[in-house]
Symmetry: C2
Subunit: 185 residues, 2 copies
């Protein structure tokens, strides 16, 4: 992404943290999820203290899940091959808008960050990116699913915590922010 | 524990991290486990940067598991009720020696800490202490058990990560430090 203002400086031995960020499951793109928003805000308040801003570098990864049933696009009409390109471009813009939300938070806190988008199954892509980039720590927001929901909806944090070698920090939503149905995020 | 030298200062909005530390499963008391040693060293290097030492406070909890089969004490002879008191006192001293190892590491890094011992089942006591003390984050070393071992040996970090509300950081041993049998620690 193009940078307009100067980036915060980063120390050579900075801790590199990879944070996976998601879109809202209820409002869809470009709205950020509650769990990722809380995870980033918590990280910027409790982990990356003001005194050590230059000692951290955040990598923000968003995994875009290919829209399998196309319900989001139900009010679009595809008549020409170009329509598909346009839809594709729309998706990309919504993704970028989502990332902008998270990147802005880092910039406000004067913490250096890089953000990018990958496509695929969230848990597989996150593990692959951890393997590729070897961050010092993987940070994941968690919806706080119950045992049954974890079985059916599938807990990304559970899966990644077992698979990756690096330290994993899982940040659940505050109990008071938890909706009746924890899969709503 | 009595403090002899002045304690590092701590900011009012310091992040309070509870780190559960264990004894070696192979060498027994007072030897520290590989996984807890690595978890503390990692925390002091990667999370609590030199610039933000005063912004963190570490709580070091050791859970002493009651010795059920008494094999460790096979060379002791219990003849009078006082012998039991002595054995008890020996256990306590070994526990304190273990804690001293971890506390010394914090002091070397000039990070404020408090350490204490509780008795019981590690995972239950850790969850109870998190509930009681409400730290900002729970940090756990992990042996990196495989799925089968987790089922039989029981993963403390798995259990606690699901049970507690606060963010949980699980730090596995480095792959190169992993013994052939991951339950050895």
């Amino acid at each position: 992404m193009a940078e307009t203002k100067p980036e915060p400086e980063v120390e050579a031995d900075a801790t590199v943290a990879l944070l996976a960020v998601s879109a809202s499951t209820t409002k869809g793109y470009p709205h950020p999820s509650q769990s990722s928003t809380h995870a980033l805000e918590w990280t910027l308040e409790k982990l990356i203290k003001k005194s050590s801003r230059n000692d951290f570098k955040l990598l923000l990864l968003h995994v875009q899940v290919p829209d399998e049933d196309g319900l989001d696009e139900v009010d679009s009409i595809y008549a020409t091959p170009a329509d598909f390109n346009e839809a594709h471009e729309n998706d990309r813009l919504k993704c970028l808008q989502l990332l902008k939300f998270y990147v802005s938070k880092c910039h406000e806190a004067q913490v250096s960050c890089r953000a990018w988008i990958k496509q695929g199954d969230a848990k597989d892509v996150i593990c692959r990116e951890v393997h590729r980039l070897k961050p010092d720590i993987l940070i994941l927001g968690s919806r706080g699913l119950g045992p049954l929901q974890r079985m059916f909806v599938g807990g990304v944090s559970d899966y990644c915590a077992k698979k990756v070698d690096c330290p994993v920090l899982v940040i659940k939503r505050r109990p008071e922010d938890m909706p009746d149905d924890a899969s709503e995020d």
